[in-house]
Symmetry: C2
Subunit: 400 residues, 2 copies
C-alpha cells in the first residue's frame, strides 16, 4: 500500500479538530511528535496566564476570594469533561508524584495487603510506592506484567497506568477494577486528554496536566477519590488547605469533608489559570472527538510504520488495536537512541527515547496533523535509510 502526502492532507481536511490546531504554538522549524511528554502552549493558555497576572496586579490578596475555589472548581471541570467522575471527586493539586504519595499512603492504611504495581509502570510511581510500602511496613511487589500485578494484589493496593508510558498500551479500567478486590490507584498521566476515561467504577486515580492537557511544564496535577471513600481516607500530608475552617487556624488537624482533604499547601494559581484556560480548548474539541482522532492518527502512523519503517529494522510495539492504545506509538529499534537524536538534530523531528530501545512518537490528537505524522515518519525513514544516524555522536540525554 502506498500512502501519499496527499492522503494525509485529505485526512486533515476532514478532521473536525483541525481548526483548533491554529490556537497552538508549534516550535518553528520542528515537526513536533512529543506532546505525550510536554503538550504545546495555546494562545488560550498564554492569555489565561496573562489575565491571572493582571488579576494579581489589580486585586492582589483580595483575588484569593476567587482563587480559593480553583482547585475544586477546575477539578469538577476535569471530572465532567474528561474523566467520567462526579462533582466533588477531583482536586487539582501538587504533582503526580506527591498526589500518588498521598493516595498510596491513605490506601495502605485502608488495606492490609501488599502494595503492588508492574515493572512497566512509570518510574516515579514505582519509586513512590516502594517508599510508602517501607514506611507503612507493607510488602512491595513489582510484578513482571500487568496481569501478574492484578493477580498478586489481592487484599492490597494496586497501582496501574491506564496507558503505559513506554508502549502506549491502554488498559480496560472498568474491567480490571471490577475483577480485583485490591484498592486500585489508576495513573491517568498518559490517558487523560488523549482517550476516554471512565472513572465511574474506580476508587482512586492521579494524573498529569502537562501532556495531553497542554497546561504547561510542571502544571499542577490532579487526584480523584471516589465520593463514598473520601470519609475513610486521610492524607498523610496534613496541610492547612485541607483543614476545616482553614483560617480559624485552630489547634489540631481536622480535615474538611470531601475531596478538599487531599489539599496540602498553597496551590499554584498561575498553574490553575493555565489549566482552566486549556480546558476551554479541550471542551470545545470534546473528548469523544479527541479520542477518535487519537485512534485514527495512531492507526495512520502505524500504517506508515508498517510500510516504511519495518523494512528498516523497526518493530512497532504498541498495540495493533486502536481500542487498546493511547496516543503515542512505540517503535523499537536497536539504534533507537542515536536515531532519536539524529532525527531531532538533522531532520527537526521531535520524538523521544525510552530505555532500552524505544523511540516514542507522540501523536497528540489536538496538536498533531496527519501531515505531521507523514512528514515526521518520512524524515525518519530517510534518515535511517541514509545511515546518517550511524554518525550521530552520543549526546547528553535530553530531558523528556
Amino acid at each position: 500500500m502506498r500512502i501519499s502526502r496527499t492522503d494525509a492532507e485529505a485526512l486533515d481536511a476532514a478532521d473536525p479538530l483541525a481548526p483548533l490546531r491554529d490556537r497552538f504554538v508549534v516550535p518553528p522549524g520542528r515537526i513536533y511528535l512529543d506532546g505525550n511528554s510536554l503538550g504545546l502552549v495555546s494562545v488560550d493558555v498564554r492569555d489565561g496566564v496573562a489575565a491571572l497576572l493582571g488579576d494579581w496586579g489589580k486585586r492582589a490578596v483580595e483575588a484569593w476570594d476567587d482563587w480559593i475555589e480553583l482547585p475544586t472548581r477546575i477539578g469538577d471541570r476535569l471530572a465532567a469533561s474528561l474523566l467520567g467522575a462526579r462533582s466533588g471527586e477531583v482536586l487539582v493539586a501538587d504533582s503526580v508524584t506527591v498526589n500518588l504519595y498521598k493516595l498510596a499512603h491513605a490506601a495502605a492504611d485502608h488495606r492490609p495487603g501488599p502494595i503492588v504495581t508492574d515493572a512497566g509502570n512509570f518510574p516515579t510511581d514505582r519509586y513512590v510506592l516502594e517508599g510508602v510500602a517501607r514506611q507503612r511496613g507493607r510488602e512491595y511487589v513489582e510484578a513482571s506484567s500487568v496481569e501478574a500485578a492484578v493477580e498478586g494484589a489481592s487484599g492490597g493496593v494496586l497501582c496501574l497506568a491506564h496507558v503505559d508510558y513506554r508502549y502506549g498500551r491502554l488498559l480496560d479500567l472498568p474491567a480490571i477494577t471490577g475483577a480485583t478486590d485490591a484498592l486500585v490507584i489508576w495513573d491517568l498521566s498518559h490517558s487523560a486528554g488523549a482517550v476516554e476515561v471512565d472513572l465511574a467504577s474506580a476508587d482512586l486515580a492521579v494524573g498529569c496536566t502537562y501532556k495531553y492537557l497542554n497546561a504547561g511544564p510542571g502544571a499542577p496535577a490532579f487526584l480523584y477519590v471516589r465520593r463514598e471513600l473520601q470519609a475513610e481516607m486521610r492524607s498523610p500530608i496534613q496541610g492547612w488547605f485541607g483543614r476545616r475552617d482553614q483560617f480559624g487556624m485552630e489547634p489540631g488537624y481536622d480535615p474538611v469533608d470531601g475531596i478538599g482533604r487531599f489539599a496540602a499547601g498553597t496551590p499554584s494559581i498561575p498553574g490553575l489559570a493555565a489549566l482552566d484556560a486549556t480546558l476551554d480548548v479541550i471542551e470545545l474539541a470534546g473528548i469523544s472527538r479527541i479520542a477518535a482522532k487519537s485512534r485514527t492518527v495512531t492507526d495512520f502512523g502505524l500504517s506508515l510504520a508498517d510500510a516504511w519503517l519495518a523494512p528498516l529494522g523497526f518493530e512497532a510495539v504498541s498495540p495493533r488495536s486502536a481500542a487498546e492504545r493511547g496516543a503515542h506509538l512505540a517503535l523499537r529499534h536497536e539504534a533507537a537512541m542515536p536515531i532519536c537524536r539524529a532525527l531531532l538534530e538533522r531532520a527537526g523531528v521531535v520524538t523521544d527515547f525510552r530505555q532500552p530501545d524505544v523511540l516514542r512518537a507522540g501523536l497528540s490528537p489536538l496538536t498533531t496533523r496527519y501531515v505531521d505524522a507523514w512528514d515526521g515518519f518520512d524524515r525518519l525513514r530517510s534518515l535511517v535509510a541514509s545511515g546518517a544516524h550511524l554518525a550521530q555522536e552520543a549526546a547528553p540525554r535530553r530531558v523528556t
Copy 2:
C-alpha cells in the same frame, strides 16, 4: 510627638529603595499593607513569566535542557542573596507544607526524640508535624511558648518560625540553633526577603516565596538542608526528580547526592521563572537595605500606632525592638475583625485579621512607602474614631 505626612514624604525621599517600588503594581484604589500575605507583582515577574511562555512556545520539550537546572540554580541564588547558605544547600520545590513534611519526616528518622513546636507556630506547620509524629510513632508536643518548645525538644526534632506569623517576633536563629541538641527546622516563610537570614549554623529550613519575595500566589517554596547532613537524610516522597540517572528509569529508588534528593515530581516552571525574575529586583535592592528598611518602616508604623491608635484601644503587640521584629506589625483590638473588614471596604486599606483579635499591618520593605504606612494608619484611626466599624456586617472571611 506629632508625625505629619510631610515627615513620611521626607523619609520616602531619602529611601534608597524607593525607585524600585515603581516596578511593582499596586492595586488601584488601595493602600496595600498585606505584602506579608501576598507580595505584589512586579513588571519583572510579569515579563519573566511571559518570556517563559514564549520559550515554551518556541522550544517546547527541548527547553527542558535548561529548565531542569532551575530548582537548584535558583536555590543557589536564594542561598547566596538571602539566606546565608552555601551553593548546593537550597532547592526550590513544591509548597512549604510539602517541604516541611519531607524534612520533618527525614528529621524524625534521624532523631529518636519527640517532635516539638510551639502553639504559636503557623497552622500548617503544626498540622504537618502532628501527622509526621503519628506516622513515625513519635510524641508530638505543642509547647505554650518558643522557650518551652526549645526546652522540651532535647534529643528530638524542633520546628520554629523565624518570624512568627501573628506577632512578627523575630527569633535569634543562630543562638537557638547553638543552644539545643534537637535537630531544628526553621520556617523562614515570614522572614526570607524581609530580614537578614543566616543559615550558616542551621541544619534544616523551609520557606515561602509568595510573601516578601513577590513570586506570586502559590509560587514554589524552598527547602534547605545543611550540606553535611544531606547524605544522611532521605525524603519520604521518593519521586523521579530526586533519583540518580532520572531518565535511566531503572528499578529501585536511589537518591542523587546533594540537595536534589529532596525533589519529588515535575517542578512548576512558570513558578520558577517568576521567582528567578523577582530575584533580579531583590538582588538589586540587596537584603541588607531591605532589612534596614524593614526596621525603619516598622519603627515608623509603631510610632504612629503609639500616637494615634493606642488611645483608640489598640495594643501594638509586636516586639518594640526592631532587631527582634519582622516586617509586619500586630495590632490587638477587641473589634479587630470588623475593623479589618471596614478598613478594607470603607477606606481601601488592605490589612489582614488573625484570630482571635489581631489586625496585621504588613509593611513589606520593597513595596511599602512611609506615606503608605502614614495613610493607612491615618485611615485606620479615622475609621475607629468615627465608630464606622461598629456598623460593619460580619462578612465571610476573606482568604489571606
